[in-house]
Symmetry: C2
Subunit: 196 residues, 2 copies
């Protein structure tokens, strides 16, 4: 019906996601976004309403593209011990930093900045962080190392893991020394290894 879109919506969302990821919500200006998406103002506002709405859409895109992968990894039955899944996740974070990816996590950055003052953004961020936490619970429940603990203890520990994840992503973004990132994950591994 009528003139069709010239741009590929998914490519545009990818572009916007990368800009927001690299610069954060407030750091990403409209020209930045337009360049990253390869479209012009008219198209952006017609297709995505405004910057805030676009960001909410991008959060869902990020959920589908990245959070889902992390959640899947933490539920991956091919790795029988859930603690190993957790270690894999954190090693992937270290690997990203190692290859020069200092963007951290779109979610964590949004959680830290003024964008979080917006109720809708805040709710979305909270929901995604919750997904991560639940996935940690799943992983812990699937680990023999924590089999002797009760559900409450595992749920509590999941919060520590989420906190660790967020902290690590923020430190990465702040260009903390690689050794710090590595040591932090090393200590986490030792902790998980020490469990029973």
């Amino acid at each position: 019906m009528a003139r069709p879109r010239k741009f590929d919506t998914n490519k545009a969302l990818d572009g916007a996601m990368n800009v927001f990821w690299a610069k954060g919500y407030e750091g990403a200006s409209l020209p930045d976004l337009l360049e990253g998406m390869g479209i012009t103002r008219g198209s952006l506002y017609k297709a995505f309403t405004d910057k805030k709405t676009l960001f909410l859409t991008i959060l869902e895109h990020y959920e589908a593209e990245h959070v889902a992968k992390a959640v899947t990894g933490l539920s991956d039955v091919d790795i029988p011990d859930g603690a190993d899944r957790i270690i894999t996740l954190f090693r992937n974070v270290v690997a990203a930093a190692h290859r020069g990816d200092w963007r951290g996590c779109l979610l964590c950055t949004a959680a830290a900045g003024p964008a979080n003052d917006n109720a809708e953004i805040s709710a979305s961020v909270a929901r995604l962080l919750d997904q991560m936490e639940q996935a940690f619970v799943v992983a812990l429940n699937a680990s023999p190392r924590f089999a002797d603990r009760d559900d409450g203890a595992r749920a509590t520990l999941a919060n520590l893991l989420l906190t660790q994840y967020v902290g690590l992503r923020i430190l990465t973004r702040s260009q903390a020394p690689l050794e710090m990132i590595e040591a932090s994950v090393q200590a986490l591994e030792s902790m998980l290894d020490a469990a029973q």
Copy 2:
């Protein structure tokens, strides 16, 4: 020498610190700062050069007012077991959230945002985070629970603690549920208790 300052520099710095703390570097506009400091534009630029320089000054103020307190607490010989000092620190973070203080940590917020792209700010933030880490090392070295581990293991664990601290502050700032904050710290206590 000529006309003296009408305002109290320390009060003004406190005011600016609170504004930056509550809103972050980019979220704090000049009118915000002027109101919080109780002075006008002319005075601000005369006394503090510009916004970035003011922020650098505020980071030092924050160091003296808050980082130093945390570092002192972690070195407090009145608490013989260093692990207890660490627990106290984290309980204070929980207590802040409990009383409705969602500002988190000036440092952690700065580390996460675009302000960190500035080399001077980034360097200051890194230096303060390093102070925290070193203080964690001191505390761990003063704990009988970790006496059997080598220096390297304790230094590594200090990075985990710093990461945990940053993550907790960011989650607090994002208005994460109080139970999440509490559970995270609860799990950390369990971990420290489980050590030897």
